[in-house]
């Protein structure tokens, strides 16, 4: 029997503390759409996406209504397009346009998978796809792109790092009129996961089934509210409180995923147990860290608090759902988190500290605005640093930086909505060009040899 306290707690979590399901993402394989004629291939892609996801938004809204829990995004991820487009031997931009049209037709706000996986080198189609990313992101509205340039098993493809520094810049340059938004739709990964439901880095891995539903939960506000009740507890208790609340959040993710899967007739994949902030008041990961006891996020102690938070979220969520996957942990996107924005503006949070935090959080350097005159090689070196952290720690890391073309430190880029706004953060001036231009492959670390 449900008791009154439990009912009121659930309602309070949803109404006052911003508990929501961040995304229901349908992963769709496009392997059966491959054709050497790009027009034929694109038609197959459009038909498959619009058939499989025809009822995705409608079912999402129905579940939202029934359980009274907001489901913020309904999204689609597809097989990395470099694999699908390889046989066409021409510019793959048409695939991006097709994805965009299909996303509009079924009513999803973002579609991910304009991607290439090049951790150990480039195969047919990869270079063409990577070079086309700036154009693809500039001429579409809802398409997201990602490139995996390294892994613990393979090491880091430094040639790809070099290329991606240039591509990130071009994405921003081509979308100056839209606050350089192109770069916000591009993620450069190390150890990319194949079942990630979160954008912009979602793609549907080749090891996944033909179609499946993955769910991303959220709820930084709920965690902070729970911690506020224990102002004097020791840190072990803090970890326990986070675990308990994470369990409850994840249970809702499991329920929504199972229900969506049944109604859509598509297998249920994983719950990504993440704390994903939004710029809304009371929905900030930085504020959780401050609730634990930091005057400002970014100060000394931030890495330790984030490590505890990230670990406790997973421990709490692991028993709450049948399968965990995706990125799972605490996200630290600067522009999408009111507390991070404040901390960056005040100078307490700098990019070096963010880099350290990425060693213990769920992903990496995320939604960070950098000066418009940053050379491509510097962006490549940021990517290489971040990939090294991922490679050595056997975790996913990523870089999503936005060169604020024409802007300097102190100014900001504002996208509104879930993407928020970010202050331009300072970078080192010294050049890493010689290192980046050496090219080649950083070998995999010793501990990759586990067999």
């Amino acid at each position: 029997m449900i008791n009154v306290y439990d009912i009121l707690e659930t309602i309070r979590m949803i109404q006052d503390e911003c508990l929501d399901i961040r995304t229901i993402t349908m992963g769709i394989s496009l392997l059966d759409c491959i054709d050497s004629d790009i027009d034929v291939a694109c038609k197959k892609v459009y038909d498959k996406i619009t058939t499989k996801a025809a009822h995705l938004v409608q079912v999402g809204e129905q579940i939202e209504r029934e359980y009274g829990i907001p489901i913020i995004n309904k999204r689609i991820s597809v097989t990395p397009i470099a694999i699908v487009s390889a046989a066409c031997k021409c510019s793959p931009v048409k695939f991006a346009k097709t994805m965009d049209e299909a996303a509009k037709a079924v009513g999803v706000n973002l579609i991910g998978g304009y991607s290439a996986l090049v951790p150990k080198g480039f195969s047919a189609g990869d270079i063409e796809l990577i070079k086309s990313i700036p154009e693809a992101l500039a001429c579409t509205e809802r398409v997201c792109s990602s490139v995996n340039i390294g892994s613990t098993k393979t090491g880091i493809n430094l040639d790809a790092c070099k290329m991606m520094g240039q591509i990130v810049r071009e994405c921003a340059e081509r979308t100056v009129d839209n606050a350089c938004f192109g770069a916000a739709k591009l993620v450069v990964f190390c150890n990319a996961v194949e079942d990630n439901p979160f954008m912009a880095g979602a793609f549907h891995g080749v090891g996944e089934p033909d179609c499946m539903i993955n769910v991303g939960v959220s709820g930084p506000g709920v965690v902070r509210a729970a911690l506020r009740k224990y102002p004097d507890a020791d840190i072990t208790k803090i970890s326990d409180v986070i675990k308990e609340i994470s369990y409850k959040i994840t249970r809702v993710g499991q329920l929504v995923g199972v229900t969506a899967s049944e109604r859509l007739g598509v297998p249920f994949g994983i719950v990504d147990l993440s704390l994903a902030p939004t710029p809304a008041v009371g929905d900030s990961v930085a504020h959780i860290l401050e609730e634990i006891g930091l005057e400002k996020c970014g100060t000394h102690g931030t890495t330790a608090c984030l490590a505890l938070l990230n670990d406790a979220v997973k421990k709490g969520g692991v028993m709450a759902c049948s399968r965990i996957g995706g990125l799972s942990g605490a996200f630290i996107p600067v522009s999408e988190d009111a507390g991070m924005i404040d901390a960056a503006k005040s100078g307490a949070l700098c990019i070096e500290k963010l880099e350290a935090m990425t060693a213990v959080c769920s992903v990496g350097l995320d939604m960070i605005c950098i000066p418009g005159d940053t050379p491509a090689d510097t962006i490549s070196a940021i990517i290489a640093d971040e990939a090294a952290i991922g490679m050595v720690n056997s975790k996913t890391t990523a870089v999503r930086v936005i060169p604020a073309i024409g802007k300097k430190v102190g100014e900001e880029l504002d996208w509104g909505g879930l993407f928020g706004c970010g202050p331009v953060m300072p970078l080192k001036k010294e050049s890493p060009s010689k290192f980046i231009n050496r090219g080649g492959q950083i070998p995999a670390p010793l501990h990759s040899l586990k067999n």
Binding site: I2, V4, I11, Q62, Y67, G68, K248, V252
Partner: protein, 89 residues
């Protein structure tokens, strides 16, 4: 299949009657009611059987929420599964 209806607001004559009449309109059988009035605030939690609704769930939920708005009350209608999953292993 059950739903939980919560009603919170300033106490007034006939709140329970209005909400249960609306449930009856949709053929939702009221199984259990807990209510309390603290100072002047009225709080009621009602468990209703929704397996024989004569309309869809969304229509009933919207209608009850609208009734709440018209009477200055905050009404929520949620399927029992969300509470069960969150609070029971």
């Amino acid at each position: 299949m059950k739903a939980v209806v919560t009603v919170i607001g300033k106490d007034a004559v006939g709140i329970l009657a209005k909400v249960s009449t609306k449930c009856a309109e949709y053929n939702a059988n009221v199984i259990e009611v807990t209510q309390s009035v603290m100072q002047e605030m009225f709080a009621m939690i009602m468990m209703v059987d929704i397996s024989k609704l004569n309309s869809d769930f969304a229509a009933m939920a919207e209608s009850l929420e609208k009734l709440g708005e018209e009477n200055g009350l905050k009404v929520t209608v949620m399927h029992e599964n969300i509470f069960n999953c969150m609070h029971h292993i």
